[in-house]
């Protein structure tokens, strides 16, 4: 049996490898994503006082830090039966959209744009550094979107990467009036650039039609939160969508968590997460779009029309995730504007008395569904914690996509750098977060 190994996969978040196995006849047997280095965060957080919990889980992932923090905070609040004040909820929402915006921008520009811009050039040159050498402006412009996300997140969350402005029970400090104005100005400034980048992504996907058809098209089920008006990051129930776009039920956080089973992979410390009753499923931008069918804000929904015409609905094409990502950024932009225009609340936090209890939270992290199930001891420390990360849900589908792509792009024995990069492109479309996966 022959094997092809790609290690490390470049331009993704975290350390992982790809292994593709062929049998004696040269036919593809199996493709897998390898990631080792289990970090033990479910146990690291054990015994943590609720006051210490958010800074601890934040360190699971720099890019999704706030999603972990707030998933933990919500689980604690549910366990104690407390709801944070409305003002804190609005602020949390604002910071979450800011981080989603930043995270998507990194995935699109730093990781995937070089492939889409220069599909025929040497992979060694496909990175923001090489592109910066030939065209300074284009990199500065696309990176401006990432900086905007970082700026908003930093202003609201208190600092970049691991935010400090939130705690179980609410938030510490509201943003001041002049800070609100500054954020709105930055957002308004970025509008043309964002819309332009949206058009660019659509254009690039159309130009890379071959990659779209080769790098994963299999229909799967989809898991995502469904909002009343459209896409949401929290609240709402979990909706399961079958491969034909048929709804297979809606679930509350507790019901949903009890239907998830985790199982070991033979080649990775990332455990598979399967949802009872659903076949191979995907989570993330594509799943959120397929489940909600709209974003619920005018700009994003306007841009969506063209996408529906071009690629249909439900969308199964793995590479179209990139378009879903930029549409989410447009939606995030609209949500952040709306949230910044809402009056600030004086009341930002509830003081918590410690008690025993159990709470479950589910949230849409940039890469997909994130679950926290936690129980507390009477002294306010964490007794048990279970975390299910987005990549765990996506792992089966991702490996299926790799197999499908390998069949399409690997020509038997000879493996050239170009085909290697094509497989990596298929992985990058998932924007997998390895460090969340091996939490």
């Amino acid at each position: 049996m022959a094997a092809v190994t790609i290690d490390p996969v470049t331009r993704i978040s975290g350390n992982a490898g790809i292994k593709v196995l062929f049998n004696e006849a040269g036919e593809l047997e199996k493709a897998s994503l390898q990631a080792y280095g289990y970090r033990g965060f479910e146990y690291i957080a054990k015994g943590a006082h609720i006051d210490n919990l958010m800074p601890v889980v934040s360190r699971i992932c720099g890019g999704d830090a706030l999603f972990h923090q707030l998933a933990a905070a919500e689980a604690v609040e549910r366990a104690l039966g407390v709801a944070p004040p409305q003002g804190a909820e609005l602020l949390r929402e604002l910071a979450l959209w800011g981080q989603l915006f930043e995270r998507h921008a990194v995935s699109l520009t730093v990781h995937s744009l070089p492939d889409l811009l220069f599909p025929s050039s040497d992979p060694g040159l496909r990175n923001i550094i090489s592109i910066h050498k030939v065209d300074e402006e284009v990199i500065k412009r696309v990176m401006a979107l990432k900086s905007l996300g970082t700026f908003i997140y930093r202003e609201v969350g208190g600092r970049a990467v691991h935010a400090v402005n939130f705690l179980p029970g609410g938030a510490v400090r509201d943003i001041r009036e002049e800070e609100r104005k500054g954020l709105l100005e930055r957002l308004d400034e970025a509008r043309p650039l964002l819309i332009e980048t949206g058009h660019l992504m659509k254009l690039l996907l159309r130009r890379n039609a071959e990659a779209v058809s080769n790098l994963g098209n299999l229909p799967t089920s989809y898991l995502a939160l469904k909002g009343e008006q459209g896409m949401v990051l929290r609240g709402g129930g979990l909706e399961v969508l079958g491969p034909q776009g048929e709804s297979m039920g809606a679930f509350s956080p507790g019901e949903a968590a009890s239907r998830i089973t985790e199982s070991n992979s033979s080649h990775s410390h990332i455990r598979y997460a399967d949802f009872e009753g659903a076949d191979i499923s995907r989570v993330g931008p594509l799943a959120r779009l397929n489940v909600n069918r709209r974003y619920g804000t005018p700009l994003a929904d306007g841009e969506l029309e063209e996408v529906k015409e071009q690629w249909g609905m439900p969308l199964h094409q793995n590479m179209v995730s990139h378009v879903a990502r930029i549409l989410e950024m447009i939606h995030a932009w609209e949500m952040m504007r709306e949230l910044l225009l809402q009056p600030a609340g004086e009341d930002m936090r509830r003081e918590l008395a410690v008690a025993t209890g159990t709470g479950t939270s589910m949230m849409e992290a940039p890469e997909g569904l994130l679950f926290y199930v936690l129980s507390l001891d009477e002294d306010g420390t964490v007794k048990e914690l279970k975390i299910i990360a987005p990549l765990q849900f996506n792992l089966r589908a991702l490996e299926r996509t790799l197999e499908e792509s390998a069949k399409n792009v690997l020509s038997g024995a000879g493996l050239e750098e170009r085909s290697i990069n094509l497989l990596e492109m298929a992985v990058r479309a998932y924007a997998p977060c390895i460090q969340c996966g091996v939490h």
């Binding site: 970090r39 015994g47 360190r59 890019g63």
Partner: protein
């Protein structure tokens, strides 16, 4: 200069900060050659470089092999971020035996193809390879990263010495004694007043400065010690973060140290959130980190 950026077991937060450098990022990448950085460029084998920034800790044999290769091929190695410098929050895994962590997560019978051997305990990077400079912070503030890089590129690697977070904190003292020890989740502190003197657990006096003390002075959030223990803390043989904090809280609350200590749930995260894996603190007696670290057949 030829530069490389590597992450071992980490959250990738430090590399996110690298992308935050904005204008300096562009001058950095045009004046230097980023030869290896899987997060950014498609290079799979580690080349000979002048400067390598290493983020994260050694978790398994694969990380160890990579760390060794980095050392061999780099003129200067920088431990970037608190994980690489002190072990970081990930070092809290040292409270459990490695085998038990694996068994609880994957079950008794679990087996993996080509799985690298896990290390028994998390340790800072300089326990494995020689490190030329340290840039702690979880993550390092973007301004610090920039000045660090500017210095490093001019050939002067910064040294480890620094003061404490309190030296940069802009708060005043409340009247003493105060109630406590208490937590910010239970009671909101007064703005603009020292948190430690108000009876909250704040690691400011024991933590390296450089962050501008934004958390306590701008947000009223206690310092968790994310830049790691200060130089004074590390060189003084009779002090450790737990003993020192209890002593200070005892003064703030006018309660006996024993009483203060007994009221603080979760000492490992409360006192050693980012530095449980730091070996210097393990040897401190009678306090230190050793009561919280699982020892496997060793003294």
């Amino acid at each position: 200069m030829k530069v490389a950026m590597v992450s071992l077991s980490s959250c990738l937060g430090c590399q996110m900060v690298f992308l935050d450098l904005e204008d300096y990022l562009y001058s950095f990448i045009s004046e230097n050659q980023v030869c290896y950085a899987p997060f950014l460029v498609d290079v799979r084998s580690f080349p000979e470089v002048e400067l390598t920034l290493v983020e994260g800790t050694v978790r398994n044999g694969d990380h160890f092999r990579r760390a060794r290769e980095i050392r061999e091929k780099s003129e200067h190695v920088v431990a970037m971020g608190t994980c690489a410098v002190y072990g970081g929050v990930q070092g809290q895994a040292n409270r459990f035996p490695r085998a038990e962590l694996m068994r609880r997560r994957f079950g008794k019978e679990a087996g993996f193809e080509d799985e690298p051997q896990a290390v028994r305990r998390i340790l800072p990077l300089d326990s494995y390879i020689a490190v030329d400079a340290y840039l702690p912070g979880c993550p390092p503030p973007v301004g610090l990263l920039r000045s660090f890089l500017e210095l490093a590129l001019s050939g002067n690697l910064p040294t480890r010495e620094a003061s404490t977070v309190c030296s940069q904190c802009r708060v005043s003292s409340p009247p003493l004694p105060q109630p406590g020890p208490r937590r910010v989740t239970e009671q909101a502190p007064l703005a603009g007043k020292c948190l430690l003197e108000q009876g909250y657990l704040c690691m400011g006096p024991l933590t390296r400065d450089g962050c501008g003390a934004e958390c306590p002075s701008r947000f009223g959030v206690p310092c968790t010690g994310c830049r790691g223990p200060s130089q004074a803390m590390l060189v003084s043989p009779s002090s450790d973060p737990k003993g020192e904090t209890v002593r200070r809280l005892s003064r703030s609350t006018a309660k006996r140290p024993g009483e203060v200590e007994s009221k603080i749930a979760d000492p490992p995260h409360s006192f050693f959130m980012h530095c449980l894996a730091e070996p210097t603190l393990r040897r401190r007696r009678p306090e230190g980190t050793s009561p919280f670290i699982f020892r496997e057949g060793e003294r």
